[in-house]
């Protein structure tokens, strides 16, 4: 039987750096209401923020576009779903970099994979953009 997810938050926002605080505050508030400890709250906030930064910088390349952001609860997991409407990305090109190679940049995907239990990219069913789903076990 398919697991039902409870929707806790949804917003459609312009993909602009000045929107990031609003997104972070929403994630923090939901995670806090679910009694996540502070380290866990910071981890999910970081993962969402980095995902949105990647959309702003890479998917839209600094241009205009929207982000649809949803927070859902699936049993004991928090599900974060982030959609953009940019050209489909080649997921094979998404590789976190080697940390022993000290250089600025390229850490966002590493952070997302490090703090979340699951990170999955897909193309929207109608091809209208990209969907990122990240799961984290609660508690």
């Amino acid at each position: 039987m398919a697991m039902t997810a409870k929707k806790l938050y949804r917003a459609r926002l312009p993909a602009k750096p000045e929107q990031l605080k609003k997104i972070r505050d929403a994630v923090k508030s939901v995670a806090s209401n679910l009694y996540c400890n502070e380290d866990l709250q910071r981890e999910v906030v970081l993962a969402v923020d980095e995902a949105c930064c990647n959309i702003i910088r890479h998917a839209y390349g600094g241009g205009d576009g929207d982000i649809v952001f949803e927070i859902l609860q699936e049993d004991k997991h928090l599900l974060l779903r982030i959609q953009d409407f940019a050209a489909p990305i080649d997921t094979k090109q998404l590789k976190p970099r080697n940390l022993s190679d000290l250089r600025p940049g390229g850490l966002g995907l590493h952070f997302m994979r490090q703090v979340m239990d699951e990170v999955r990219f897909s193309t929207a069913p109608d091809g209208s953009g990209n969907i990122l789903e990240m799961r984290k076990k609660l508690g």
Binding site: L20, K21, E43, L46, C53, P104, G106, L107
Partner: protein
């Protein structure tokens, strides 16, 4: 708005506050690089940083590398728990010189 700086002994201390994200990290980058281009030894105080993302961390890496090239000292001071959590994820806690307080630098 610029972040406050002060001079202590041979160092310039840059005090970052609040949330260092994609919106404000260009401003941080400008201040960090200006200090190093002026040949100042730099300590970045992260005591009052509630959040730092990969763009903020990238700025610190760039500053560290530029300082090293110029044979200047670069370190992090009083790193908050929130900032340390992110540095640890990037394993940069093993790269940057990190000091609990300015007393520990001297």
């Amino acid at each position: 708005m610029s972040y406050p700086t002060r001079i202590e002994d041979r160092f310039t201390i840059l005090e970052l506050t609040g949330e260092i994200d994609l919106q404000c990290s260009p401003k941080v980058r400008k201040q960090v690089l200006e200090c190093i281009q002026a040949y100042h030894n730099l300590l970045v105080d992260l005591a009052a940083v509630d959040y730092i993302d990969s763009s903020g961390v990238a700025t610190l890496v760039e500053g560290y590398q530029m300082a090293k090239k110029r044979k200047l000292e670069f370190g992090l001071l009083s790193v908050s728990r929130a900032a340390m959590q992110v540095l640890e994820l990037a394993r940069l806690d093993q790269v940057f010189p990190i000091f609990e307080s300015f007393e520990a630098v001297k």
